[in-house]
Subunit: 247 residues, 2 copies
DNA sequence: GAGTGGTCTAGACCACATA
DNA sequence: ATGTGGTCTAGACCACTCA
């Protein structure tokens, strides 16, 4: 029994200790927007392999404390962007604060996984309107609205994206949306989505799925994916929780 | 200009292609709960390094398609657990479906980052009640309630965790909660939290922060962290979206 | 073109679960 | 005791940004 009374029963992994050290450094010696030393220098300074350092950086990015851009560098992040998630039909038919970007508007067969949620046959035709949300010139989310063609039938196939999207949205606005069901979960960005969000494929995203009901059926389904590193979802009518409330 | 007309401008990373192959394999050749071959075999089979395979597996786990347990193996996951997030004071004062586990009940100085959100002085004393949510014997979330001692002063310091927690909750239930503000974001689990969730440190979690207001002030703050891989947050009164609605 | 983060490799050892 | 996933290393090359 030569067990020395080491209090260090923890034995936390190296990447976690590294993360803690980096958090302290970020909070005490750096300010928002400031660039950190590059990964090779940092790993050398801390005496760890670059992969281990990267594991810590990845977690800090997921927490929204850092932003990394290939070729550019790693900078200290500011507070997360608040994405307001309304209790009502907010978001789609209306106009909201913040810049938005029309990506495209198409009509095609419903993606297999969404047929059940939309309440349509597996290969039914649906309109899809996709737009991108920006915040301070940075892309933060992709919002995708699916509307069964049965709900909005009169959209000529030949129109351009902009006109088609406008038609679908106007039609929907005239509908009386009665209620909605919503869920939030974590997903990963597919390559195209990732490109629009200016992130590598597989980046963690918050997926907000909203089913709009009208006339006892699902009239539309919105699937919004927000960058998990930069976004916080804010619910309720009041102002977001901790934001700028320090007197 | 010897540019051959290669359509393959994509050049997606290897881990993403691997992910796609694995998704197809999981969906076609495996069923929920089934164990996959181990990582060394899989990486050999696909002709990649183990680290590359693990990058794909990590994403699949984050998506909730796989569960990995050290020493045990990698199994195909079932559908995510729906965590109901009510519009009212649901969750804390009341009782809800699903098993819960009291972790501890303490009274200590408020954690620095929460003082502003609770509307108390930086080193003010707060009661903390912490419990764990289980689903089918698996831990899925840690729910932590902070109540300023100014709101519930009459809790003897000497009581055991169970009694203290019960007192705080009963006191809070007698209060008239007037409203709440809520946000959802992604975070990483600290080692202790991670242990309770049976995951490695740094695991991605969904952080739900709810501020309860009563009498024009913040009476309580609930910080709930749910395993991002196994949980989906369901909002609204209706049943969750796609769940079991296929007739 | 220099410097950055992103991808990928081929190993090694450790902590844990299970039988 | 065996086998699993978890951690860590020391390299290499690629894709991208920016001066």
């Amino acid at each position: 029994m030569a067990t020395t009374a080491t209090v260090e029963v923890a034995a936390e992994p190296k990447y976690w200790h590294l993360r803690t050290v980096l958090v302290q450094a970020i909070e005490s010696e750096f300010t928002t927007g400031q660039t950190l030393p590059n990964e090779r220098d940092l790993s050398a300074r801390f005496g760890v392999a670059r992969a281990t350092l990267r594991q810590a950086l990845e977690q800090l990015e997921l927490e929204g404390r850092l932003h990394r851009r290939r070729g550019a560098g790693t900078v200290v992040a500011g507070p997360r962007v608040d994405i307001t998630i309304g209790t009502h039909d907010e978001g789609w038919p209306g106009v909201e604060p913040g810049d938005r970007d029309l990506v495209d508007g198409t009509t095609a067969a419903v993606p297999g996984r969404l047929a059940a949620q939309l309440g349509v046959r597996p290969r039914a035709m649906v309109h899809r309107v996709r737009r991108r949300q920006l915040s301070m010139r940075q892309p933060v989310g992709i919002e995708c609205l699916y509307v069964p063609r049965a709900v909005v039938p009169r959209v000529p196939e030949l129109l351009g994206d902009n006109r088609r999207a406008a038609l679908v949205l106007r039609h929907l606005r005239n509908n009386t949306l009665e209620g909605l069901t919503r869920s939030v979960e974590v997903g990963v960005a597919e390559p195209e989505e990732a490109r629009l969000l200016e992130r590598p494929p597989g980046t963690a995203v918050l997926v907000v799925t909203t089913a709009y009901t009208a006339g006892g059926r699902t009239a539309a389904l919105a699937v919004a994916t927000y960058r998990a590193d930069t976004c916080r979802l804010a619910f309720g009518e009041d102002a977001p929780i901790g934001a700028r409330s320090a007197s």
